[in-house]
């Protein structure tokens, strides 16, 4: 690697350099702010995760290096929570994207009261998750719940199942509660993507005699990809950090404990600050890695779009 190629002076005019300096000066305040609100807490958590803090004697702590991470990665609990969280994310995000796309297509049609409906579908998203979780809990209660009663009345299977007390079923309720709540959010992002597709493209397709299905598969979906990927990234990051739904619905029983719940238990209930921080950092890293992978492999489109816009 030659020094020449690294040197910015070559082939760059004085004006360019001045502009570059100006750019740095102009971005500096936001960079400093970012550092304060993001880097400081993360750095602090990282420091906490490298120490052990006594739960027996106040103020006593010791530096243990990576021991907290080794303990976490060697524990069955972490890997169980890891697998369960990914299962939840995979199920909920794929359902939300499929349903969200369908919902967006419907909302994009021209009909009377469209503006009102667009607002109304957002209602579930506006409800506090804990509140909606308690509602779902009540609905799935054995004997008394709405869902179990309706299923029994219709003679359908599931009426006599203790949904939140059974492996698989408990996960299904949590996925359902999440899909109900956040599908409108996915739909809204995808709707925005739909609206930038020009009508001319569709007119051209119609002239060429493309069927509705062909139009959807060959025009709508490819052009929607950036919006769908964006929705997928947002939803996946959220789903991997899920806490409130399993906390309220099952307390982590029956294969529903998430990574965040595990960290919470260690940090808050057990006051194991070091171990809990290590689990938080591991959760954070997991989410980071997944987002980077997304952007690398599925987000090619986003970069292309960004380039075109420049």
């Amino acid at each position: 690697m030659s020094i020449k190629s690294l040197s910015p002076g070559r082939g760059v005019s004085a004006r360019d350099r001045a502009e570059r300096r100006l750019a740095i000066r102009m971005t500096a305040p936001s960079l400093i702010l970012m550092a304060l609100v993001a880097a400081v807490p993360i750095g602090y958590a990282l420091w906490l995760s490298l120490n052990q803090y006594s739960v027996r004697t106040a103020g006593l702590s010791r530096f243990v290096g990576l021991e907290n991470y080794i303990t976490a990665l060697a524990s069955q609990e972490w890997w169980a929570a890891f697998g369960q969280t990914f299962l939840f994310a995979a199920l909920s995000v794929s359902l939300e994207l499929v349903l969200g796309t369908a919902m967006a297509l419907l909302l994009n049609l021209a009909f009377k009261g469209r503006a009102l409906l667009r607002t109304v579908v957002l209602l579930p998203y506006a409800i506090v998750t804990v509140v909606s979780a308690i509602t779902w809990q009540t609905m799935f209660q054995p004997n008394l719940g709405l869902v179990t009663n309706v299923l029994s009345a219709l003679g359908l299977p599931g009426g006599d199942v203790v949904w939140l007390g059974e492996h698989g079923y408990a996960m299904a309720v949590i996925v359902l509660a999440d899909v109900w709540k956040t599908t409108p959010f996915a739909a809204l992002i995808i709707l925005a993507g739909l609206q930038v597709i020009s009508a001319e493209t569709y007119e051209a397709a119609e002239l060429d005699g493309a069927s509705k299905w062909q139009t959807f598969v060959h025009i709508t979906l490819p052009l929607l990809r950036p919006a769908i990927v964006l929705a997928a990234i947002f939803r996946t990051m959220d789903a991997l950090r899920v806490f409130d739904l399993p906390f309220v619905l099952t307390r982590g029983a029956n294969g529903t404990e998430s990574m965040s719940m595990l960290a919470y238990t260690q940090l808050r209930e057990n006051r194991l600050v070091g171990e809990g921080s290590a689990l938080s950092i591991l959760t954070f890293l997991t989410v980071m890695v997944v987002s980077v992978v997304y952007i690398r492999f599925a987000g090619g489109n986003i970069r292309e779009v960004a380039k075109e816009e420049q």
Partner: protein, 428 residues
Amino acid sequence: MKAFISAGRRRLALSAAAAVMAGSMLTACGGGAATQNNGPAVDPAAGKDASGSINVCGGKDASGIYKGTAEAFTKANGKVTAKYTEIGATTDEARTQAVQRLEGKSDECDIFLTDVIWTSEFASQGWLVDQSKLVEANKDRLIPSTVETTKYEDKYWASPFFTNAGLIYYQKDKVAKPETWQQLYAEAAKAPGNSFVYQGKQYEGLTVNFLEMLYSAGGEVLDSNGEVKIDSPQTREVLDFMVKGLKDGSADRAVLTYNEDPARLAYESGEDGYQRNWPHVYRLLNESALKGTFGVAPLPTWEGGKASGVLGGWNLAISAHSKNQAGAVAFIDFATTPEWQKHVAMDFSQAPVNEAAYSDPVVLAKMPFAKELLASVKGAKPRPISPVYPQISQAVYKNVYAVLSGTASTEDAVKNMAEEITAAKKSF
């Protein structure tokens, strides 16, 4: 031997250095590490010439007892005014909020309402004022089992305010008053409408429900020396008994999702025979369609064993950072008087910590099951006493839940429980 000592010293020096570093870092971030409080025990006579105001902090005041006591105290005392501040809607939330204030050395709260299971943890952190002398002075008017819940390392760190013990509610027209757990389960298995509901969700309440049976079967979690004793034939026997109950229909499988309120609601539908719950449920059942149809019994004995239970309830602890300890002592003196303890039962349906209150005619008129309640309270034992109690309880309820829900064998769960409790006890 010499090498051992020097290694020990080195480690001590290292951890001291680390403690200093951590301490300064925490302070810099506004957290502030608590310091060990080895201050003298508070003087029981301090309350006599107290003045000023005090702030009592705790969870949601569902029965009105906290506010009611503060108001009555202010009126009766004349010199000290007390107010109640709610710092959390649930028990967990109240604990988190209390811990934050204590770690931050806040003087906002003079008295904290503390759950009986928090005593060791709060005391070991130096967050509380030593109440040994005060408790000794009041001991003759307090039920001994309730006093035990305030003890940590031979000192008393709080005064009992009101207590709690499990009771069995039963439908008089369908099932018999239970004498033993075996009889209760056999009776419950006879018909679907006889079934038993309890708190079997994966949470603290399951630890309580399980320990009530384990204690009466003669088992224990830790012995008096703090040794782990959970890996015992009694633990296996109780677990197998509970599993069998779920299989033969004595207990509805739905209990795996119940904490206190869902259990009560299910029982109110009239489709069950027995319910294990706390005393406050009596008032609620009396307001439901079940009024007049149910009876109240103390917890049954284990066949060939004895009656036992697990103590609940709330204590009054003085914050180490309180600026008005004398006022706090005056408040505690008032709250534990035999006279006020009657109001605890009459006005707020809570279990008094003074024995005489249970046989008072006015109390009996309002709380007809006072005799059964006293039997449950006197027979009940505290949950394991340890500063790492939350971890111990998790080891219990997670493994018991695994057995009940059918994902683990009794043998594996008992082994796991013992291992996890041993590991928790080794917490640094």
